[in-house]
């Protein structure tokens, strides 16, 4: 196992870890969004889905796994950042011109920190948010549909979510193709397509989430 320690503490090993955990988190986002879209199908389906998910015996291992991946991603991000800061202690008097033009990569850490804060607020507001009972053919389950519909009635929350999703998009725009590059997936023909796809995915994912937020905001649920 000595090799593993050496590998993950090497510059490229860290990049690999960032890329793989990032790709896993991206996978989670996709399933999360798919689940969110069930909101459009009404309370019954949405709540059934949420119930199935939370009552599954796999939920705790899955949550622990997700948190672990998220934490590893964060730890490696800060680790890389600290390496990078110490690689140039004396800064330039004039900021690097080319770097200026490349915003999303420079913003990875800032957008990442925002996302951490967002996740804490989001989990607190929804997962550990208000419990409203829902009657599913005699069985009482949580009415998550109602929780969500209620949650997105305050303008502050809506704005916070929209901004956060835009920031997530910015993060993903760089992250998606960058993760491929980091594990060595680069191709003369496909990389340019991948970069285009990155933008599409960033916009698609962010607007998908925002769509659900707006749907909830406009829903007839109790204010």
């Amino acid at each position: 196992m000595k090799w593993l320690l050496r590998y993950i503490s090497s510059s490229i090993g860290k990049k690999h870890v960032m890329a793989l955990t990032g790709m896993a988190l991206f996978g989670f986002l996709l399933t999360h969004l798919a689940g969110n879209f069930l909101y459009f199908l009404g309370p019954e389906i949405f709540n059934k889905y949420a119930h199935a998910l939370t009552s599954s015996p796999l939920i705790y291992p899955a949550e622990i796994g997700l948190i672990t991946i998220f934490v590893i991603h964060i730890i490696f991000a800060f680790w890389t950042q600290s390496d990078n800061k110490s690689a140039r202690k004396q800064a330039y008097a004039v900021p690097l011109a080319e770097e200026h033009a490349k915003l999303s990569s420079s913003f990875m850490l800032l957008t990442g920190i925002w996302i951490i804060l967002f996740v804490i607020i989001h989990v607190g507001g929804i997962k550990f948010g208000s419990y409203i009972p829902y009657d599913l053919a005699g069985e009482e389950i949580r009415d998550l549909y109602q929780t969500v519909s209620t949650y997105f009635k305050t303008p502050g929350t809506i704005i916070f979510y929209v901004v956060s999703m835009v920031i997530l998009g910015v993060h993903l725009n760089h992250a998606f193709w960058s993760a491929h590059q980091s594990v060595g997936l680069s191709h003369r023909k496909y990389t340019p397509i991948l970069k285009g796809l990155s933008i599409a995915i960033a916009i698609g994912l962010a607007s998908g989430f925002i769509l659900v937020v707006f749907a909830a905001a406009l829903s007839k649920g109790a204010a």
Binding site: W3, S10, S11, H16, A87, A93, V94, L96, Q181, S182
Partner: protein, 254 residues
């Protein structure tokens, strides 16, 4: 051909030694010909400084035709200045205008300590190459040069990686002071060619480990290195090195 002479304001990093603190000094320079190269403009300033019994500005340069990789300088925030695919020595003053202020700094990275003024120590690059940037063949006894055909495409790709002049602009321009483009160019060249295969795994491990040890930063895929590289070395080489590294560590049985 010559046109009107220019007057410039130069802000140049002056630092007397590696452990001294430096600062930007301002010089007004009159009568700069647009036909001068950037380094000839510095020569002109230095000639004046000598006349004024001041210490001339130290800077590295040698071939002045864009191939030795010795000239450096970050000009207005860009290594080797504003012209794409051009080293400082090949940059000409006609790219600037009368009345311009030009800020000139050394290549900055902890792995490239300043020796004096604009001159930095890039021997870390040599040490990275010494860690494995070669094929371990001895002189003599090599097979006939045509014994192993190499597809033209592969040879061309290897050549493009081998075009690196080791100037360090990639490090200087990267916000993380990462040397990935430099290291990956050599790793790629030898990973592509059949001659480099037998040592491919140890090469990439040793070179990356040396690169980390020298204190270069990590790559965050900003691609600025490629944008400022005077030889336009592609970041595809970085991906290839990432792949080679994966093969040599996680996927290898050693």
């Amino acid at each position: 051909m010559s046109s009107k002479a220019m007057n410039l304001t130069l802000k140049v990093w002056r630092q007397t030694g590696p452990n001294e603190t430096g600062k930007l000094a301002t010089y007004e320079l009159q009568g700069v010909s647009p036909d001068m190269s950037f380094l000839e403009m510095i020569d002109m300033l230095n000639a004046r400084l000598i006349q004024e019994r001041e210490d001339p500005i130290a800077f590295d340069h040698d071939c002045r035709e864009g191939i030795c990789g010795m000239c450096s300088m970050v000009i207005n925030g860009t290594p080797h200045g504003p012209e794409k695919a051009t080293t400082t020595c090949q940059l000409h003053m006609r790219k600037f205008s009368d009345g311009d202020t030009i800020v000139i700094e050394p290549f900055r990275a902890d792995a490239f300590p300043v020796i004096k003024d604009l001159s930095v120590d890039r021997s870390a690059f040599d040490r990275v190459i010494q860690a494995g940037g070669y094929v371990s063949v001895k002189t003599g006894g090599s097979p006939d040069a045509n014994a192993t055909p190499i597809p033209k495409k592969v040879a061309d790709e290897a050549f493009e990686a081998a075009a690196c002049i080791g100037c360090g602009a990639c490090v200087a321009g990267c916000k993380n002071a990462s040397a990935m483009l430099f290291v990956s160019a050599k790793v790629s060249q030898l990973a592509l060619l059949p001659q480099g295969q037998s040592e491919a795994a140890t090469r990439v491990i040793n070179m990356v480990s040396k690169m980390d040890e020298e204190g270069f930063g990590n790559c965050t895929n900003t691609e600025v290195c490629e944008a400022v590289c005077p030889k336009e070395i592609s970041v595809r080489n970085i991906a290839r090195m990432n792949r080679e590294y994966l093969k040599a560590t996680v996927l290898s049985e050693d």
